[in-house]
Amino acid sequence: MNDATSGARGAVGDEARLDTGGALVELVVPARPRFLATVRLVAASVASDLGFSVDDLDELRIAIDEALTLLMAAQPPGATVRLTFTAEPQLDGVAGRLRIEGAPADASASPAAPAVDALVTHILDAVTDGFEIGADGFALVKKAAHAPG
């Protein structure tokens, strides 16, 4: 899988990529850390509507924050970051899928590859059900089980 990094709890294979359906929510923000909180808030709201538990929401917020922080740091000045949130029903719940990509203001400006270290990889592995880090962005998968009863 060329230069991508995958989570140990389940790589994001073809069936899990974020092009499997229409976008539930798309969000574009400047690639600046001051917008991290905004993105976490929106993502948590969307996931809450999908039935994520409080713990799942907390883990989703952590995952998005870690991925966004790295991606934002790799973007040239003036860039934006686009998040695409989709959801797929599962037999036992729902899978929220996020695609996070950088978009330089100047198309000729190439973003650097996100500087992923062991700590971030360790955290993403713990809080997601799969992740993939490529040169152009991140894909995250977070599943939520149906509530019992």
Binding site: R34, T38, R61, I62, D65, E66, L119, H122, I123, V127
Partner: protein, 179 residues
Amino acid sequence: MSTPPQTDHPASRAHRSHTIRCISRPPRGYGRGHDWWTRCSGGVGGPRRTTEAVDDDVGVATASEQNGGMVQRVTVAENADGTLALAGELDAYATETVERALGALSASADAAVDVSGVTFVDSAVLRVLVRQSERLVSQGGRLRLVRPSPALRRLIELSGLRSAFTLDAGASGDEDRDG
């Protein structure tokens, strides 16, 4: 139908999203060279006051979370016992603020920071905490995180960095540290 209570919080009066909360006295360990004295006290030796200054460069607090009518993100404040208190959402945007607040702590034998109000924390701030803890240890002191919030405890456990911190449960006096 009751009327919602009016809030006088400065952050609710303006759309400016960066504010630094100044408190009436400098947190314990803030020396005379610390920014607090120029930003909040009217200068070194100036009158004590409680105020809120706006500062885009520092970016201590931003409007990102509604909490009982209060809009705030990160606060650096002082508890009644003089302990430095960090609260709010500690992400990459807050690293400079956290680094500055902890960096001003002198290497006493026991530098305590109340982190009970931390509602979110990420690896960027965790690195700052590790760095500052190592600094204090190298100077003969230590950084004690008092009453760590569930969010902070969780990330510390998730990251496998439990042994890097001294955690203090607070009033009970319980303290735990691995390694």
